[in-house]
């Protein structure tokens, strides 16, 4: 693997951006820190989601299942094990779970896969609920001294890892194979690519990341119960942010997550009684006027600039 000059420049820029982001908790505003947590959380979730769904065009609604499992790992283990090890365990469980799901669902295509993953998330929630009832266990109280800033840094580190992972995958044989699969699966199979293996490998990434995100966020929720930890809305939010950004680029989901979080925030603070209504309208506006997501918008803008620059020269 060789690094070109522009690769190096990008890496340095990314490291700088990361360092700047890491300073947010010192800004002193709990409000912006809270929004920062939301942004990095969805950045990790949506970017890892797009790593799988971008090239394969499979829309997975299983995020909530992995996320919920992760919160439960922390909820059950935070008194016995150190926090960092719980995140690792959650990631491991998430990856294994994703591999199992991946093997089971390879035959499904299109909308069948979408709804299958949704059903899966609900099934996991039902089984955990029932297990709780059988053991007479209540909701879990996660009373720790982990601060919001700590959670923010963990999530930021996770997001950085996702980016690094995505960048490496993009340069690897696996990434190359996936791009061929995305273009035409039959061609990929004929050219000797083990499509099943490639897809399962990749599906493990969002599974692990979502579980780790859940594990990191559990202390923030203080109280965990299945209806909160496995809320299906999370899966939809991730899909929507990733698609709004554009799943075809590594940085696509990020440009969906940031404006979407800010938009959501300003809507909920300015229209407290009509939050849902205004949100829906804003949503429709985006879908109709930004058909290619924010990536499309930015690329158009860049194309326009270039054209203008060319005209001037």
């Amino acid at each position: 693997m060789t690094l070109t000059a522009s690769d190096l420049r990008n890496l340095v820029l990314a490291a700088l951006a990361l360092a700047v982001c890491a300073l947010l908790p010192f800004g002193g505003s709990g409000y912006w820190l809270g929004i920062g947590v939301t942004i990095v959380m969805f950045t990790a979730l949506a970017t890892s989601w797009a790593l799988f769904s971008g090239p394969t065009h499979y829309i997975s609604l299983a995020t909530a299942a992995f996320f919920g499992v992760g919160t439960y790992v922390t909820g059950l283990g935070f008194e016995v094990l150190p926090f960092w090890s719980l995140i690792g365990i959650a990631g491991l469980i998430g990856a294994v779970l994703a591999a199992l799901v991946g093997f089971a669902t390879l035959r499904l295509s299109g909308v069948y896969f979408v709804i299958f993953t949704l059903g899966l998330a609900e099934l996991v929630r039902q089984v955990i609920t029932w297990g709780q009832n059988m053991t007479g266990q209540r909701g879990l109280y996660v009373l720790t001294d982990i601060t919001e800033a700590g959670i923010y840094w963990w999530l930021l580190g996770l997001s950085a890892a996702v980016y690094l992972g995505g960048w490496l995958i993009g340069r690897s044989r696996l990434g190359f194979a996936l791009r061929i699969i995305g273009d035409d699966e039959t061609v990929a199979a004929h050219s000797g690519i083990n499509t099943a293996f490639a897809k399962v490998m990749l599906f493990m990434v969002p599974g692990a990341v979502a579980a780790m995100t859940g594990a990191i966020l559990a202390p923030r929720y203080v109280y965990i119960e299945p209806s909160l930890a496995f809320a299906p809305i999370l899966s939809f939010q991730v899909v929507i942010m990733a698609l709004l950004g554009g799943a075809s680029r590594l940085w696509g989901p990020l440009v969906g997550v940031i404006p979407f979080t800010l938009l959501l925030e300003s809507i909920s603070s300015n229209f407290p009684n009509q939050t849902t209504l205004v949100l829906g309208v804003a949503f429709l506006v985006i879908v109709y006027f930004l058909p290619r997501g924010f990536v499309g918008l930015l690329e158009d803008a860049r194309g326009g600039l270039r054209k203008r620059a060319g005209g001037m020269a």
Binding site: E225, N270, N273, L290
Partner: protein
């Protein structure tokens, strides 16, 4: 070409979001976060929002809160948390840091109250929780010293229901066989676990004991199986939609029991309105003394201002929590730490009677069981409250009428 208007809109919204905090000095900003949408919206729309609206209306009609000798009007800032703990956290943070709210009314629901507790604690806001029933009050108040509990504990709720059935059995009104079901959710599980032990201690026989998932659409198999077990009493630790569904199925199956108990939403006006005579004799979680003058005045005002009736349990407790907040502010001013200390140290006169938080920040006088009696929901068991009505025997479902 199409992207410009959108960009403008986004910028406008973002700017509006950041400057919304400014407000004039002679008003007192009170924040409120609770579900308007999502799973708990139906309950919050009965118990939480109308009572808040009533309180603000009354205080402002009166010229405002008296703070250090001056009247300050209340400016209410409401947010919908969509029954999502992440949103609750964000909204409380926004209230504390952007809106610079002077005080924040506690959220709705156990999970959402607990999710918000660290934020309340970090910014030093007292949190007078109402719809948060738990046995963890000592631990929680140790972790969050300015968090207060008003509605009682899980154990008390379950124990008193068991006690009522025990008393009925001692009086020869009730046999020994209980059918018990619970919604498989933290709340239902917690109650069922306590009740299971207490029923065993009291020598009852649980002839049917099962759970059903949240969101079950058909409870008739549950009711059929319960009926087949031939219980003398039926107890359900249920949530609003299933409270309605179980009662309806019991009517359809003509479940022949001497006591019928469903938990949350039994004290809702909609329950009495829907089931009419068939509701008569049904027991439920929590209660009030509907004959007390204070409650009647509250209920009348509630009806007048919001156009709907309050429920007969947590509505009045929510109102009491606001009275406590009001009395504390008027006593010590806008200093939040002083208000929290005042709450800890004082016995308040509320719509429900005296209320104090001496032990573990917990109010220890609360209603635990109520019953529909001739169209009115009356408290029949309480801890430290007077005016409990006599329990009546469940006498059929009024289907012959």
């Amino acid at each position: 070409m199409q992207r410009r208007p959108f960009l403008k809109l986004a910028t406008a919204l973002a700017v509006a979001g950041t400057i919304a905090g400014a407000a004039s000095a002679d008003t007192i900003r009170i924040g409120a976060v609770a579900p308007k949408t999502g799973g708990l919206a139906g309950g919050a729309a009965v118990t939480q929002w109308p009572t808040i609206a009533l309180w603000v209306d009354q205080v402002n009609a009166d010229g405002g809160l008296t703070v250090d000798g001056e009247k300050m009007m209340i400016e209410l800032i409401e947010y919908d948390d969509q029954t999502n703990p992440g949103e609750t956290i964000k909204a409380v943070q926004r209230l504390a840091t952007q809106d610079e709210a002077h005080f924040i009314i506690a959220p709705y629901g156990t999970g959402l109250n607990l999710a918000a507790a660290p934020i309340f604690a970090r910014y030093g806001y007292p949190q007078i929780a109402v719809s948060a029933i738990t046995d963890q009050q000592p631990e929680l108040s140790a972790q969050f010293p300015d968090m207060f509990f008003t509605l009682g504990t899980t154990s008390a709720l379950a124990e008193d229901a068991v006690k009522i059935l025990t008393d009925m059995r001692e009086a020869g009104q009730l046999g020994n066989k209980i059918a018990m079901v619970n919604v498989a959710d933290a709340f239902g599980i917690e109650l069922a676990t306590v009740a299971r032990e207490r029923f065993a201690e009291a020598g009852f026989e649980l002839v049917y004991d099962t759970s059903y998932p949240l969101g079950t659409q058909d409870l008739s198999p549950v009711m059929k199986a319960a009926k087949a077990a031939e219980p003398d009493a039926f107890v359900a630790w249920s949530y609003p939609p299933d409270t309605f569904a179980l009662t309806e199925q019991a009517i359809i199956e003509d479940l022949d029991v001497q006591a019928f108990y469903t938990a949350v939403a039994t004290p809702f006006p909609a329950y009495g309105a829907r089931f009419g005579a068939a509701a008569n004799g049904n027991l439920g979680a929590g209660g009030v003394n509907p004959d007390s003058e204070a409650f009647q005045a509250y209920a009348t005002a509630h009806q007048e201002v919001t156009g709907v009736a309050p429920d007969s349990w947590a509505s009045a407790t929510t109102y009491a929590s606001l009275e406590i907040l009001q009395q504390s502010i008027e006593a010590v001013g806008l200093d939040r730490a002083a208000v929290a200390d005042h709450i800890r140290a004082t016995t308040f006169e509320t719509v429900l009677g005296p209320m104090s938080f001496a032990n573990n920040n917990s109010n220890e006088a609360f209603w635990t069981v109520g019953q529909w009696q001739d169209g009115v929901y009356r408290g029949v068991a309480a801890r430290g409250r007077d005016g409990a009505a006599e329990v009546q025997l469940k006498d059929g479902w009024g289907s012959d009428s």
